[in-house]
Symmetry: C2
Subunit: 337 residues, 2 copies
Amino acid sequence: MKATAIANANIAIIKYWGRRDEALRIPTNNSISFTMDDQLQSVTTVEFSEKLRHDTLQLNGRQPKPKQLARVSHFLDFVRTKAKKKKLFAKIVSKNSFPTAAGLASSASGFAALAAASTLAIGLRSFSENKKNLSMLARLGSGSASRSVFGGAAEWRAGVKKDGSDCYSVQLSAPEKWKDLRNVIAITNSKEKRISSTDAMTRTVRTSEMFKCRLESVERRLRIVRKAIYDRDFESMAKTIMQESDSMHAVMLDSWPPIAYLNGISLEIIHKVIEINDSYGRPVAAYTFDAGPNAHIYTTKKYERAVRKALDDVDGIERVMVCGIGDGVRYPKKDLF
Amino acid sequence: MKATAIANANIAIIKYWGRRDEALRIPTNNSISFTMDDQLQSVTTVEFSEKLRHDTLQLNGRQPKPKQLARVSHFLDFVRTKAKKKKLFAKIVSKNSFPTAAGLASSASGFAALAAASTLAIGLRSFSENKKNLSMLARLGSGSASRSVFGGAAEWRAGVKKDGSDCYSVQLSAPEKWKDLRNVIAITNSKEKRISSTDAMTRTVRTSEMFKCRLESVERRLRIVRKAIYDRDFESMAKTIMQESDSMHAVMLDSWPPIAYLNGISLEIIHKVIEINDSYGRPVAAYTFDAGPNAHIYTTKKYERAVRKALDDVDGIERVMVCGIGDGVRYPKKDLF
């Protein structure tokens, strides 16, 4: 009744922003991401026990906020329902290797690990041993978690069915395929964000009049990025990655009240990346921003130093870290408790 | 052959962003603005002389940049053509009461004053004495200048004709009609901007896939704002003003390369204005940003102090000034030289 799973964060290059079904977390469009290496990792141990009267959660060694516990319990309700053990509660201990809720996609790795650990612990082998099903389940906790189930590059398919049964992720390429790809992460603000991405994307779909226009562009960009990943062709996807990020932040700004996750430092970094590419005469780096001000600059090993050097000129960056491409969910031998 | 004119800046609440004809400066959509009081003013003296072999320009007591002189000369070519005096050059002296090219609409007041002074000096009375024609002409120098011809509130009509002959401004309400309206201006950066609004709007029309969606929203917003001005109803236009500004900056961000005129301080001010309105339970202030990071916060006399007080909490504002609503172009008795 006890199991532990590891999952890594993923950073989308085609974004998940907007849902056609709120409760089932079915997105309005497909999204594509790379799964990060073990520097951005969640480890989660789940133990179900007849003795427990409710779920307990310890997150990074601390008591969680009531909202965080409620979200985890709500997710475990899906697991309990599938296992037909509605009254079986769990002790959950989870650790992130990076700051929670700062736009570093901690909910993606967290819920992917939780989905894997809880289904193994409760004996749902059709999930713990089947990545397609696991990604469909992880989605119910946090949409982007469905992509973290896979290593390398993953595409989360929105599907068309009402019940979400065709809404899951597939692997586009294995982690080994693109070994020299790097994500240079510039942390510009590690504090918690003002508005959760869940609330923000709901607001965008409801209030941004330009949102429907964005969806058309996303379809075009998906085709470009899929092919670029297949061809391992960084140059041909770089501009598309940046436009996709800009487009998402544009519809945020077009929402009411407007949502501004980027800060002044983020904007400086955008200009800096464009400058780097201009100086080489071709795209060697591509920024993308999630629902937060931290920059993720995809580049290749060859240009990693140039990107880091360019970031030295930008005031206010708290920390720079460089991630490679990593693995999907896995089960370590050691539990957290 | 010598004449002087005064024109004030205007700050749009429905924005001019995008042209259907570049050379004739015919916009993609109607726009609406208030003309500011005499604190944001351009005074321009033009003297045509047979003795001159080329145009000369003095701007704020200094030699202009070659680009600025070229733009003024290009505008005077229209005036010379209409006057059938193609070889008659001019000495132009112009002064702004506020920093040039910092997003405080200096080109609007500058070209409105230039259009008025030059047509009077050269004897084109069908322009210097006819505000509709004057606004059509001023448009050829700077699109938004066509609105500064009128005091109070003005709407610049895009028209449908190819030659721009139905593309001019009309007054929506006289300056006296809304005496307690205020624009609290927060200067967050008085330096010259990176990219001119002319280049930026061309880039947006060419590259933003969401731009066509914006145009649909603008039509709806025009109707709301026109009625609010007619009714002198601040509350009913406040939210629309803010959404319009957000929408313009959203399509800028959606352009390639992305255009970011707002800075971190601008974003703070946006949140601050939303807070003020929340605290009153109704909209008492409305921000709008032109092609620059400076905030224009429309409010009424009653809430001016509350707005200024709220801005005290925002770090990095260089200067706050408060403008009322002002007059259109006029001819003073005194020349600048």
